[in-house]
């Protein structure tokens, strides 16, 4: 149904190469997330798949059919935009019905499909309102509704939650995941927020500078980051990266250790230091510890009950089995 294959896809804007020779296969029914810092080319990649941008080189296949030259409307994909891109002069009903109307679907059939989509998205009470009379979350749902009615081969989401406030974002995140489970349609989701990527994705594609850094399930990326960039990008709080004497001890140029793999004690341990800022989340507390001889503070997760104050002397002990080692080019050493 919705298998999408990119082979050797390249995109240049004039002299600037935005996507560099990239190959990727997205399986049918998969929820795949493109994640990366701003300017990494993730939105461009999505627009290439949608057909809103022409690719410079390479080939895109959708459902085993070469779609490289197909116009956007013929690709059978639906897109949800960051700004929602609802038609302001049309009611919610007409907005959702628009793709059907363009496809020449019969009026009674249109009404039935719109009602069905509206029920699925809890929009039934708002069908006759204009977009500007709706809240951000409702507009988002209308945009999704407009995508659903077409029964596309795949959904494309371009940072759909970045205009919503934090509380709403968590709710919409669940709704989209729920929708994916129900529809079992391929979804491609672009975000710069690694929390969204981790929580929603079947597989994550980490992009940087127009290149794929790593593809894998959220936990694969978290547990076995393939290089320094992925290690630094995935996970919150950020992984602690150490170089110099400490890393040479492990035979690597840089080592990384996550905050939960370091234990903190007041009696004794490997790395002496003093407590800096502490962030209390209730269940957990993150301490930023300035270690002797180290330049950047190390983030350590401790239980919410641990009571340490600014300036307290502590000792840190890393769990050596959980240390990630990287060579001088930033690649993982196993």
């Amino acid at each position: 149904m919705g298998r999408i294959t990119l082979s050797q896809v390249k995109k240049d804007f004039g002299e600037v190469s935005v996507i560099q020779k990239l190959s990727l296969t997205i399986e049918d029914g998969e929820f795949i997330v493109f994640v990366g810092p701003s300017g990494c080319g993730k939105s461009t990649l999505l627009r290439l798949i949608a057909g809103l941008e022409d690719i410079t080189e390479g080939q895109i296949e959708i459902d085993g059919r070469n779609a490289t030259e197909l116009p956007p409307a013929k690709r059978g994909l639906a897109m949800v935009f960051q700004s929602y891109a609802l038609y302001p002069h049309m009611s919610v009903r007409k907005n959702i019905a628009f793709p059907l109307r363009m496809a020449g679907v019969e009026k009674s059939q249109q009404d039935r499909l719109v009602e069905e989509a509206a029920r699925m998205l809890n929009l039934t009470d708002y069908l006759d309102r204009r977009p500007r009379q709706l809240s951000g979350g409702q507009r988002q749902r209308v945009a999704i509704g407009r995508a659903i009615v077409r029964k596309p081969a795949a959904f494309l989401f371009d940072e759909p939650l970045s205009n919503l406030d934090a509380a709403l974002r968590v709710g919409m995140r669940l709704e989209i995941s729920e929708l994916h489970k129900r529809l079992e349609t391929t979804m491609i989701y672009v975000t710069h927020d690694q929390v969204e990527a981790m929580t929603m994705a079947d597989r994550i594609v980490v992009l940087n500078d127009g290149r794929i850094e790593q593809v894998g399930t959220p936990l694969e990326l978290y547990r076995k980051p393939g290089n320094l960039f992925v290690a630094g990008f995935v996970g919150s709080p950020k992984i602690n990266l150490l170089s110099g004497a400490e890393s040479r001890k492990h035979g690597a140029a840089t080592i990384g250790i996550r905050s939960e793999h370091i234990s903190i004690s007041t009696e004794g341990g490997d790395w002496p230091g003093s407590i800096g800022v502490s962030e209390h989340l209730g269940s957990d507390t993150f301490f930023h510890v300035a270690c002797e001889g180290g330049d950047a503070p190390i983030t350590v997760r401790a239980d919410g009950e641990v009571d340490l104050k600014y300036g307290d002397k502590v000792f840190l002990t890393p769990d050596t089995a959980q240390i990630h080692k990287f060579d001088s080019r930033g690649l993982r050493i196993d």
Binding site: A50, L52, P71, P72, A73, L77, A78, M79, F81, Q82, S83, A85, L86, Y87, P88, H89, F98, P99, M102, A103, R146, R150
Partner: protein, 290 residues
Amino acid sequence: MATQHSRAAARLMISPAVILLLCWMLVPLGMTLYFSFLRYNLLMPGTESWNGWTNYYYFLTDPSFTDAIINTLLLVGGVLAITVVGGVLFALLLDQPMWGQGLIRVLVIAPFFVMPTVSALVWKNMFMNPVNGIFAHLANALGVAPLDFFARIPLASIIWIVSWQWLPFATLILLTSLQSLDQEQLEAAEMDGANWLRRFRFVMIPHLARPVTVVILIQTIFLLSIFAEILVTTNGGPGTATTNLTYLIYVQSLLQFDVGAGSAGGVIAIILANIVAIFLMRMIGKNLDA
């Protein structure tokens, strides 16, 4: 207390401007109203006498009054139609990325800066003149008899000249509006399977509805009082073929020296303009609400 003081001070401060503006409007308006009820002929100074509604009666029953109303409506309607349709097309064209965009935009806007008398004279003498005009030369080159524009199609010629002057205004407003259209909306419509014509019909036209009403409102106000273009080209003729209400008032008061009838015409013109304004405001109000 402080706010009451400052409010009083504010009123005092703006009063000179308000009083000046009021005098500027009310004095001429009052004088026009007063004259319209007088028997006031410039050839017989000092013999002004109260005349009642006679001036109104003669102005309204004058056969050229009906002609003038029809001509005014044709002129306003014709120019609006040409500038709105042409403005949309020009705006779409100028919105395309092209070489020398800045210069072309300046050139397109240029006619708006030409004085009405000058542009009318240029059109009359350099383009539409049946002997020396460019159109006459073109016609001769093609072996067709040149058209005497101001004799055969006088009103259409004036509509064309005025449209040429106002097209840049409409283009400019519609262009800025097109540029403010959210590109993602167009892309969404493209994904939804709408071709260019349908994107134009379902996304761009609704987006342009508001600026188009603004263009119509502003242009109507100015087009109701077109005068210079008629004066320098046809002098309202042949016959009354290009006499609009403004020009008729001029004819009454300054060519026939009947200030009383001219003033009555002026008052009628004010009333008609206000009726048009009320309709337009209601139309725009609706459009701005939506």
